[in-house]
Symmetry: C2
Subunit: 151 residues, 2 copies
């Protein structure tokens, strides 16, 4: 374990989040997502895991170190429920709460249709499969920047 680092961020996940740059996407996928197949098409090329925790807990850990991109309107997006794109499930609310807490203000997620989400995920830097057992626990976060104060 490491000082001040959430133990849910394993060595592989921490490596990937650190290696990502401005505008790179990280996908948080649920347990039924075709995560291995899609991860092989990403930049990292292999699947990462944060097992046995739900989407909200995983988002909290990731957002404890990852800045969201302030250059775009919706740096966080969710997969839409098939046939009900506007339906907000508890898993979406839980992750929204973590995003708002990390940003220090309401920062509503965007949404992406299921198959469009797959295509977007293939272009991500990496895919992290969480232990989320509920459906539609699939999210994409765009990495932002941490700029040193002018000296």
């Amino acid at each position: 374990m490491l000082k001040s680092i959430d133990p849910a961020l394993n060595a592989d996940v921490l490596y990937a989040l650190r290696a990502m740059g401005h505008g790179d996407d990280v996908v948080l996928a649920d347990m039924n997502f075709p995560a291995d197949a899609i991860a092989r098409e990403t930049t990292l090329g292999r699947l990462l895991r944060m097992e046995n925790i739900d989407s909200g807990r995983a988002a909290r850990a990731v957002l404890s170190v990852l800045p969201l991109d302030s250059f775009v309107k919706k740096p966080a997006e969710r997969m839409e429920v098939v046939g009900k794109p506007k339906e907000i499930l508890p898993v979406h609310k839980e992750v929204q709460k973590e995003i708002d807490a990390a940003e220090g203000r309401p920062s509503p997620m965007g949404s992406i249709e299921r198959f469009a989400f797959y295509e977007r995920a293939k272009k991500a830097y990496c895919v992290i499969q969480t232990g989320e057992l509920r459906g539609y626990g699939c999210f994409v976060f765009k990495k932002g920047v941490i700029i040193a104060p002018a000296g």
Copy 2:
């Protein structure tokens, strides 16, 4: 996910438990154990993980599919507290409870001194690092057999 399989048993762990044979050892290690270094000396040669769950939860998942060896007196053993080999910590009690439940009867664990445990672990089939944050959450289980009834 798979029918009737505990979701805490990820694909890599399930592969290893299935591949093990009679008398092979699997180590469940806590978060501070030198798991990566020791796992590289095991038969499998690489570390497995069951993250974000404690020793008891991980033992329950493993023992839901892994038979313990009935050919030896103590098929399950724990790492001893340094300087206090007989001290039983809550993490030990929690795993003992899972062993007893899986066996359907009291089946007290044996114990191994810390450095002897490291040597024993190097000879295991594999090491699984759990999300156990407490100390001394280190165990070794010896695989038993499942014999078809005489036809």
